[in-house]
């Protein structure tokens, strides 16, 4: 390849010919190399497993592609790994499909691949299959990545809303809203300050520790689109219980708090990529907090509320007194104050 000028993705990189082969070998295989991927066959052949397998898929279209704390590649790995992890599965393998806009810089693609490889290593998963398509300028925005993942669920594990009981403790592993604000600030060049960065991280390690040491974990959910509020509401409805959050206990670090206040946004509804909600038996709440806090992705972990008997509602007891009703977001949050 010509190294003199900045190399970019051409339509020919996606036509299945020589350039495609070169791209796969020089970038993807080089970074993702592992015995299952190496044959580059039509399908990866995985050893058969007994027991239960979790299988998930996700697509990533984040703008900007690179942002403080991560990039679209890291996000694509963590998103799928986290979906598996909160389901109780131990993520094993993922696939990665790329839809790239003609003209995208090869160097950027390489950076993304390297970042994916690093995230895979951290999460202990391998990329076992993939695909690459190049589309004409304007047909996608720079690069879209779609990942799918499989993982095994330990035999004795039974997570689910049916296990929720009044008194169960609701926990979160750290500050809320950082990812959503980081993306917004980077995309719109807002210049939010305070060292704001995405919390993007693979959660399977910290979750594995929890599941290994605690039997009272009842349900977990990663707090991506729609944030904590949406996840809590979904769980409450599915479980037919109420969730009461304590505003004073919610972890929102200074950077996220400042940014959210500035934009008039509510951290409760902002996206995260390295946060999960766990509902646990109250007798184990302290242990869970202790385990989480010992892990780098759980330093700010804490109990933020509890389950009460109810009918699928989420409430937040506010600092001023008065219990806020937390509902799904209906479009943009328009002012209600007259």
């Amino acid at each position: 390849m010509n190294k003199d000028k900045e190399e970019i993705i051409l339509l020919a990189h996606g036509d299945g010919g020589l350039l495609t082969r070169e791209l796969v070998n020089n970038i993807f295989l080089r970074h993702f190399d592992n015995p299952l991927l190496r044959p580059l066959a039509d399908a990866a052949v995985l050893p058969a497993q007994t027991g239960r397998m979790a299988f998930t898929a996700d697509a990533f279209v984040v703008d900007p592609v690179f942002f403080p704390g991560g990039d679209i590649g890291k996000l694509a790995v963590c998103g799928t790994v986290n979906d598996l992890a909160v389901s109780g599965a131990r993520p094993r393998h993922i696939t990665a499909s790329f839809i790239i806009e003609e003209g995208f810089a090869l160097a950027a693609l390489e950076k993304i691949a390297a970042s994916m490889a690093a995230a895979c290593a951290e999460a202990g998963v391998t990329v076992v299959a993939g695909d690459t398509k190049v589309v004409p300028r304007g047909h996608v925005d720079k690069i879209f990545i779609s990942t799918a993942g499989v993982g095994m669920i330990p035999d004795n594990l039974g997570l689910g809303c049916h296990r929720l009981r009044p008194g169960d403790a609701v926990l979160v592993n750290g500050s809320l809203g950082n990812h959503g604000l980081t993306i917004l600030s980077a995309r719109e060049n807002l210049g939010l300050e305070g060292g704001l960065q995405s919390d993007c991280a693979p959660l399977n390690g910290i979750i594995r520790q929890l599941l290994d040491k605690c039997s009272g974990i009842k349900i977990m959910r990663d707090l991506t689109r729609g944030g904590l509020a949406t996840a809590a509401k979904e769980i409450a409805e599915a479980g037919g219980i109420d969730i009461y959050l304590q505003e004073a206990l919610l972890p929102v670090d200074a950077a996220a708090r400042g940014g959210a206040e500035m934009l008039g946004l509510d951290p409760l509804y902002l996206a995260n990529e390295g946060k999960f909600l766990a509902i646990v038996d109250p007798t184990e709440a302290a242990l869970v907090v202790e385990i989480l806090q010992r892990h780098p992705f759980g330093r700010d972990a804490r109990v933020i509320g509890e389950v009460r008997a109810g009918k699928g509602n989420v409430y937040m007891e506010t600092a001023l007194g008065g219990t806020r009703i937390i509902d799904y977001l209906a479009g943009n949050p328009l002012p209600r104050i007259c």
Binding site: L184, E188, G264, L320, T323, N332, P335, I337, C338
Partner: protein, 764 residues
């Protein structure tokens, strides 16, 4: 005299529990007529026999010189065969329970009762629950109808012999006064500390001592608790503010007597009448320059909300205690009024030092009403205790829509809801904020209570279109029937039409805070054309983004930046950075989120326009309570309209009232060091001129000449006066609110009307 006739008279309205039967009884006896009078679920039923002419005079007289609390809605007369009555008697109540009988509102202690509690010889001496047929608690203690003691909060108090005798004596002024009580048989007061431990000794003396020492006492009243402290003690006032988290919102005071009110405020005869009325509302008065009351009561504002003691308990508390008491509503922000003793200790335990409790339950919460005398009438800021659940006649509203019951859900802030039936509107008490769990529960409870007390089943519900309004969701879940979404400002307009009996198309000048518009944007400065069935938006204030949505509403300086950037672009940005030097970074971000439309909903709101200018002038940068900036800017307008306006230049173009020139002119005045009062005055004139011009255009285009003024910004007295006067001069007929709030406390009526009319057009 004519031959003997027999008539059956059905009288509906506020006729039970107000001494109406004795009124009929005494009248019939004095005229020598025979017959009976009794309460029924429908109202009061009179059968009367005697010479035709005298019966005719009796029927007329029964409707005159009514007992103090009675109000007649209708009086139907039927001929019936002679029954042969010998004398006139009061017949005990039967079990019938359907109809339109109306619960009376709570009423301030009457002069007779006041005299008794001060008379050492009277058995009611110093008794804080003294009342009679003419006065005392009603709405707040009535569980259900018919109105009998057993269905009130007095059910648990068995009358002693003497009370019972008075209660049964048709000529006694306590005849059938359900809450009658005396020291022997009635409720009792207890003064306790935060832990519920009793403070020994005479409660009046102890409370007086504590208040004098700067303590805060939560006082259980008629419709909830008040937080009380010595109103002449700035330290106590600031302490209350700090503990309640209310840095600037004006606090109402209770003055011992009218002389005390006069010492601190100007009081016109109309204002005095309001203060002394049986509703005893908080009346917003102008403070005298000589007043020694601490400024902390209402920082930045020259008016003050004053009421007179309206229960015997208040009268005794002030008899020798502080002449001026702060009496602010006893709730934490976002929560409904504390109602029972335990709730109060829990909710107010960190605010109040002591609790003045009693053991008569409050069945319905009811905040104090707040009114103002404006332009030869009463302006309701909050219509609640003393007025609710009395109905409001809607002149001319009847016919097909008559018997049908329509429900208006109200808004999310300052909520009231209403039921409309047979040409009368029944507005709820001030429900307040409904966006919390407690607020929503309170709303549900209030709606259920109202339906039960009025025995009305709505068939149609009007609700606000705002997708985030809890009131709208709650109403729809509580009430079956047809649900009709009503645009916020259409509801304001319709409410004003209904109150003034307007049927034909009108011009609506709706100046408001923020309401959800039909186009999904925020509206609030709208010149509408229409009727109950629909409207067109003829003119509106230019859209300006509200950066951060509610954040801008809470921070007028943010809105000011938005106005500067909208009007002056990059130059506006530079000016904003000069005016708000400590917000450099934030201002750049505000500009970006405006440009990119990130959480920056476009708004055409009068309230926000006022906010922006208040912040530009440095009057108020942050709203610590609803409407603070607009109120404080309003304080800078001239006291009276002087006949002509001195507006800044502005343009009306393609349905849009443009703000650019106004902002430019204000910036240039600021540059030229023109004083803030002058700018504020010209700004008021500008907004008034905008309304006049737009209404004029709308009138010329449509040939309509009736204008209704509605929306929260019409609380601005100068604006109301200026616009009304000029429009009248131009030949318009101008209507405004006189019985319901012009703010969001009034939209429920408009919602009910619009929904009802749409239902009639397309029933089923």
């Amino acid at each position: 005299m004519g031959e003997t006739v027999s008539k059956r008279i059905v009288i509906t309205g506020t006729v039970q529990g107000v001494g109406f039967r004795p009124h009929v009884y005494k009248l019939a006896r004095s005229m020598g007529l025979a017959g009976t009078v009794r309460n029924s679920g429908r109202g009061v039923l009179v059968e009367v026999e005697g010479p035709g002419e005298i019966v005719r005079r009796f029927i007329a007289a029964v409707q005159e010189n009514l007992p103090c609390l009675a109000a007649i809605n209708a009086c139907e007369v039927y001929v019936q065969p002679l029954r042969g009555y010998r004398d006139f008697t009061i017949v005990p109540t039967r079990g019938e329970t359907t109809g339109e009988s109306v619960v009376p509102p709570d009423t301030a202690a009457c002069p007779d009762c006041r005299r008794e509690i001060m008379d050492p010889a009277d058995r009611h001496y110093w008794y804080p629950f003294t009342n009679c047929t003419c006065c005392g608690p009603r709405f707040t203690i009535i569980q259900s109808l018919p109105y009998d003691r057993a269905r009130t909060a007095m059910a648990g108090f068995a009358m002693c012999e003497r009370c019972s005798a008075e209660y049964k004596d048709p000529v006694d002024r306590r005849f059938h006064a359900q809450p009658v009580a005396c020291p022997e048989c009635g409720p009792r007061v207890s003064l306790v500390d935060r832990c519920g431990k009793a403070v020994p000794g005479d409660w009046v003396a102890q409370a007086r001592r504590l208040l004098a020492g700067g303590k805060i006492i939560a006082v259980k009243g008629l419709g909830g608790f008040h937080l009380a402290c010595n109103g002449e003690d700035p330290v106590a006032v600031m302490n209350l503010r700090r503990r309640k988290g209310r840095p600037a919102r004006p606090l109402a005071v209770m003055c011992r007597d009218i002389a005390m009110v006069r010492r601190h405020c100007r009081v016109s005869p109309a204002e005095e009448a309001l203060l002394r009325s049986s509703a005893a509302p908080i009346v917003v008065l102008e403070r005298k320059p000589s007043s020694t009351l601490p400024r902390e009561l209402a920082p930045g504002i020259n008016s003050i909300g004053v009421m007179l003691p309206y229960t015997p308990l208040h009268i005794l508390l002030q008899e020798k205690g502080p002449g001026v008491l702060v009496m602010t509503s006893g709730n934490r922000s976002g929560l409904p009024l504390a109602r029972d003793n335990r709730e109060a200790l829990q909710q107010l335990g960190e605010v109040a030092d002591y609790f003045l409790l009693h053991n008569r339950d409050i069945l319905h919460r009811c905040d104090d009403s707040v009114v103002r005398a404006a332009g030869g009438g009463t302006q309701f800021i909050r219509r609640s205790r003393g007025y609710v659940p009395q109905s409001i006649a809607l002149p001319g509203v009847n016919g097909a829509a008559g018997e049908m019951v329509c429900f208006g859900a109200g808004g999310d802030m300052k909520n009231t809801f209403c039921l409309v039936k047979a040409g009368r509107a029944y507005l709820s008490q001030h429900v307040g904020e409904v966006d919390t769990l407690e607020g929503a529960d309170n709303y549900r409870e209030c709606v259920e209570n109202f339906r039960r007390l009025l025995r009305m089943e709505p068939v149609v519900v009007g609700y606000d279109l705002h997708p985030g309004y809890h009131s709208a969701k709650l109403a729809r879940s509580l009430i079956a029937g047809r649900h009709v979404g009503v645009q916020h400002h259409h509801a304001h307009m319709a409410a004003c039409m209904a109150e003034n009996g307007l049927e034909e198309r009108v011009i609506g000048a709706v100046l408001d805070g923020t309401g959800y518009g039909s186009d999904g944007n925020i509206w609030g400065f709208e010149i509408l054309l229409g009727d109950y069935l629909g409207f067109t938006r003829e003119w509106h204030l230019e859209y300006v983004p509200l950066p951060g949505g509610e954040r801008a509403v809470r921070n007028p300086w943010v809105t000011a930046v938005a106005y500067l950037v909208k009007a002056l672009g990059e130059e506006g940005l530079a000016i904003a950075k000069k005016i708000f030097p400590d917000k450099q970074k934030e201002i750049s971000i505000i500009q970006k989120i405006m440009q990119k439309g990130i959480n920056a909903p476009p708004a055409s709101s009068c309230g926000r326009f006022f906010d922006a200018v208040a912040a530009l002038l440095g009057v108020c940068l942050v709203n610590t309570y609803d409407g603070q900036a607009a109120i404080e800017l309003g304080e800078m307008a001239p006291a009276r309209f002087r006949g002509t306006l001195e507006p800044y230049p502005f343009n009306l173009r393609n349905g849009v009232i443009e703000v650019g020139l106004v902002i430019k002119a204000i910036v240039s005045d600021l540059d030229n060091k023109i004083n803030a009062e002058k700018i504020a005055g010209r700004f008021h004139d500008t907004v008034a001129a905008m309304v006049v011009k737009a209404v004029d255009e709308a009138g010329a285009g449509s040939g309509l000449d009736q204008v209704v003024l509605s929306g929260g910004c019409w609380y601005n007295r100068y604006m109301l006066e200026a616009v009304s006067n000029i429009l009248v001069e131009k030949g318009f007929r101008v209507y405004r609110h006189r019985q319901i709030p012009t703010g969001d406390g009034g939209i429920c009526l408009g919602q009910a009307m619009v929904a009802g009319r749409q239902y009639c057009l397309q029933p089923g």
